[in-house]
Symmetry: C2
């Protein structure tokens, strides 16, 4: 599998990768256990602090790992990882070690104990900052505390889930920068 | 501009269009005024009720229209509407009538007073169901009460914002349905 040479990336700029709406892999750690889940229901909520909201229910084995550790990593898989993305979403961490099963590499993060998935394009280390919406909405509020992104390619080819087993694959990027007011960029 | 022959669409299935993360146009109505804003920070939060969460700040002229009326319509523009999407995001409803300025057609909705944008691929009529997260997170909780979607094309070509004036244009859709457990589709 392809790997990337990643650098520290400004956390307030991660909307570049999350706002287009890719499916992501969420890695977590609690006690001696790592897990990974596939997640499609997330949104950017603020630039600084770099806030993300995401929907994860207690039906996911990762739910308790993230709730108890108050940490996770959001990893951006590229389209070539589609079999891993689907596989990870169709088995449970209660039964398998997903890093082992899918031959993915757990790399140590800097600010959280949850591991980075080395084979993913980018990794965003997150702290859970608010669990008060879990009961009503299964909604975690996260803050990205460190981001790892490669210098190249600037934009990854990502998977965007439509439900029913269908993914949209991201297409080309086009700039309309000259049509924006500077304060709106 | 292209228009679509739309039909009633099951509200619990709108994730097909929103989960991939397109930029959307939000139309609103309050007293004798209609407005439109461009929005990129939103997520599906539940199938049934068909729940959406979205980030809209009071810096947007639409904020008060949506807050007071407790309604809006989420419209999905296709990539050919990129100039309208950028233009709408770079002027204010406090100064211009955006329907008039961008030659868009306000069609009556069925269950809300906010208008549908006829030229958009799909229209989701929404009620605001929870405003308790506005103060802390500028986050509206919406319920889709009626959805209008054309029979064809099945998947629209959409715009996905990366910030900095750059849009990703959605690419092809591929099915991995056979690799899913039925309960996970």
């Amino acid at each position: 599998m392809k790997t990337y040479r990643k650098k520290n990336f400004p956390v307030e700029m991660i909307r570049r990768y999350l706002e287009p709406g890719p499916i992501v892999l969420v890695s977590s750690h609690w006690k001696n256990e790592n897990n990974i889940m596939t997640m499609g229901w997330h949104t950017v909520m603020e630039f600084s602090p770099s806030r993300i909201g995401c929907f994860i229910t207690s039906a996911n084995y990762s739910f308790e790992l993230i709730r108890k550790s108050r940490e996770c990593v959001i990893n951006i898989p590229t389209a070539d990882l589609v079999n891993e993305v689907v596989g990870i979403g169709n088995c449970s961490g209660s039964e398998v070690d997903k890093f082992q099963k899918f031959k993915l590499t757990a790399e140590p993060a800097d600010k959280v104990k949850a591991p980075l998935i080395k084979e993913c394009y980018a990794n965003f280390e997150c702290k859970v900052t608010d669990t008060s919406l879990l009961r009503k909405y299964s909604f975690f509020i996260l803050e990205v505390v460190k981001a790892h992104v490669p210098g190249s390619p600037k934009y990854p080819t990502t998977l965007h889930y439509r439900g029913d087993g269908v993914f949209m694959i991201s297409g080309k990027s086009v700039s309309y920068r000259r049509k924006f007011k500077p304060e709106n960029l």
